[in-house]
């Protein structure tokens, strides 16, 4: 099974090993530091209501949208005082997990 695969490099503590990769290793998600100005879905679901518009000023804690998932309505709220930069979802849209919903920026 393993012999048929092409040998690749795996670096561990400075040493370069010739070996093969597993599917799980190849498909691993590269870590990106989360950007506080991007609101991603935390569960797949449906956008059942959207309360804000682009450029709107929003206070911390105000509800931006309702994401329905697992028979629950999840309120997505503003994490800090700021402004809506861009909205990436529409009312009624079904979105997967980790989907960019809204871009925001803090008030200076």
């Amino acid at each position: 099974m393993a012999e048929e695969k092409e040998l690749k490099n795996l670096v561990i503590q400075g040493a370069v090993y010739k070996t093969t990769y597993t599917k799980r290793f190849e498909n691993r998600v590269k870590y990106v530091t989360p950007d506080p100005n991007e609101l991603y879905s935390f569960i797949p679901g449906t956008i059942i209501d959207l309360f804000v518009k682009t450029k709107q000023k929003v206070k911390e804690g105000e509800t931006l949208l309702l994401l329905e998932a697992m028979k629950m309505e999840n309120q997505v709220r503003m994490p800090f005082d700021g402004e809506i930069v861009k909205i990436h979802v529409k009312k009624g849209e079904v979105i997967p997990n980790r989907h960019l919903m809204i871009e925001i920026k803090p008030t200076k």
Partner: protein, 514 residues
């Protein structure tokens, strides 16, 4: 009525019930590419050895129009028989009877044979092929599952429990196989999941086929729920028989010895392994160079292939092998391989099977994904499993044994009974490249030609530390051996360990890092 007519009546009744769900349902089963429950039992057990119990049990449902219906055997066949002349208890769900759905009496039959297996200390084999809970029986059906799970847990580590998934096994039903020792799956036939594709779609909007969600390959390669994968049911039964031949009947016994055989000629261990620790080879070839008849029966072959676990024989006796596989991910320990090895080690320890560890690894796999997924607690499992195991434990360090990986792979410090090392072994806190960068950081940075200095320092470190003799000087390694002596040394170590007596402090149970 004469006795004769009574006998004829019995035969007639038996024949009727043994038809299961009837011709139409059987035809459907065959169309799905599946054998019937009865055919499966007969194919797996020794010829004419099967004896069935509770054939005339009927279902207990009283609602939703069920009261007038007959369900032959209530959709499950239970009994006893033999494999290679050794007794087993067995149940097989009959999908042709109400989709093999589990009701109260169905569950009672299963728990009856489970109790029997536990009391008689014989292996239990469960063939799963069921649509799930019998909705018409409501909470009685749930109670049935609970009673089965409880017994699976009681029997765990006492008798071997084998689950064979030959059809759907969905919802709560999956937890019985998950609690057993070995799960067998067959391509296109086995389907296991907690929630099926339709629920996944309606709730989460994710489109997935049954095969992609919980088919045989998925469980053999991705989830690690299955231990053996076969293309056909008959191949699966052969695998079960082979497994049975390797393991003891219960935790009170040892596996039955077979006739000792020498490894096949022409398999020379010293020709397999390159001296450069960065060049891979297939560790299975090393295992086959030392086992009886060069036979190795691999467990979880497709899951976390960076570690190899499985059974072989040494001088006729069953041995459990745990070995790093340099051919995949350089043989690192990671979450999946630690989990896989730890479980196998605990199996061997519970069932009196000596463990031989073949070591060649650069350490644990670095990465954010590993750290965030909990490589600390998962990696700890292998330390726990080796430390608590009291069966004979033998380690052969083939090449690399760096850092935490060295400690984890049945080192002297976790109470290995015998530790051998090849002259190619490098037992060190890390590989020469990493160590030189740290130890000689200043010299390298201040050198006129840092790269040249780095290479020089790596060589220096290699010379001094990347060998078995530093560890041997401390007694952490018992003997540095020539590769060609490996089999003979293991055989001798096993012979010396035959009456090993070791125990853990008295306790109710430990708290392994689950």
């Amino acid at each position: 009525m004469s006795l004769r007519s009574n006998v004829l009546d019995l035969r007639k009744r038996k024949k009727e019930v043994q038809k299961g769900g009837g011709d139409k349902a059987i035809e459907k089963q065959v169309k799905m590419g599946k054998l019937t429950a009865r055919e499966r039992i007969l194919a797996l057990l020794d010829k004419n050895s099967f004896h069935e119990y509770d054939l005339f049990v009927e279902h207990a449902a009283k609602d939703f129009g069920m009261e007038g219906k007959t369900l032959h055997g209530d959709g499950v066949i239970i009994g006893t028989g033999t494999i290679y002349d050794k007794p087993v208890c067995i149940f097989a769900q009959d999908f042709t009877v109400a989709g093999g759905s589990l009701g109260l009496m169905h569950a009672r039959k299963i728990t009856k044979i489970m109790d029997h297996a536990l009391k008689m200390r014989v292996p239990l084999i469960g063939i799963n092929d069921s649509g799930g809970a019998r909705i018409q029986e409501g909470v009685n059906s749930l109670a049935g599952y609970g009673e089965i799970f409880f017994r699976n847990t009681l029997a765990s580590g006492v008798i071997p429990q084998i689950s064979v998934i030959l059809g759907p096994c969905a919802g709560g039903a999956v937890y019985s196989p998950a609690l057993t020792d070995f799960v067998f799956v067959v391509e296109n036939i086995s389907k296991m999941f907690i929630t099926g594709p339709s629920v996944v779609k309606s709730v989460l909007g994710e489109e997935v086929s049954m095969e992609e969600l919980g088919g045989a390959k998925v469980h053999a390669e991705v989830t690690g729920n299955a231990h053996f994968y076969a293309e056909t049911e008959m191949e699966c039964f052969d695998q079960i028989k082979t497994l049975i031949s390797f393991i003891p009947r219960s935790n009170l016994k040892k596996a039955l010895p077979h006739k000792p055989k020498a490894p096949l000629k022409g398999v020379k261990v010293e020709d397999i392994v390159p001296a450069d620790p960065r060049i891979p080879y297939d560790m299975r070839d090393v295992l086959k160079s030392i086992t009886d008849g060069s036979e190795f029966f691999e467990v979880m072959e497709r899951f976390a292939p960076n570690i190899i676990v499985g059974f072989g024989r040494m001088n006729g006796e069953t041995v459990g092998f745990v070995a790093n596989q340099p051919m995949v991910l350089a043989g690192v320990l990671d979450i999946d391989s630690s989990d896989k090895a730890a479980r196998f080690i605990r199996y061997c320890d519970a069932f009196n099977i000596p463990i031989v560890t073949m070591e060649d690894l650069p350490g644990y796999l670095p990465g954010v994904d590993q750290e965030h997924a909990g490589v600390i607690r998962h990696g700890a499992k292998i330390l726990y499993a080796y430390s608590e195991a009291t069966v004979p434990k033998i380690t052969v360090i083939v090449r690399k044994a760096y850092g935490g990986g060295y400690i984890a792979m049945n080192s002297r410090h976790l109470r290995a009974d015998f530790v051998f090392a090849w002259p190619t072994a490098e037992i060190a806190v890390m590989g020469p490249e990493g160590a030189a960068n740290i130890v000689f950081r200043k010299e390298i940075a201040e050198a006129e030609n840092p790269e040249e200095m780095r290479q020089q320092k790596i060589e220096e470190y290699k010379e001094k530390f990347a060998n078995p003799y530093v560890a041997a000087a401390q007694g952490y390694i018992d003997e540095v051996i020539e590769p060609s002596e490996t089999r003979a040394r293991i055989l001798h170590a096993l012979q010396v360990s035959e009456n090993k007596s070791a125990s853990m402090p008295a306790k109710k149970h430990g708290i392994p890092p689950f």
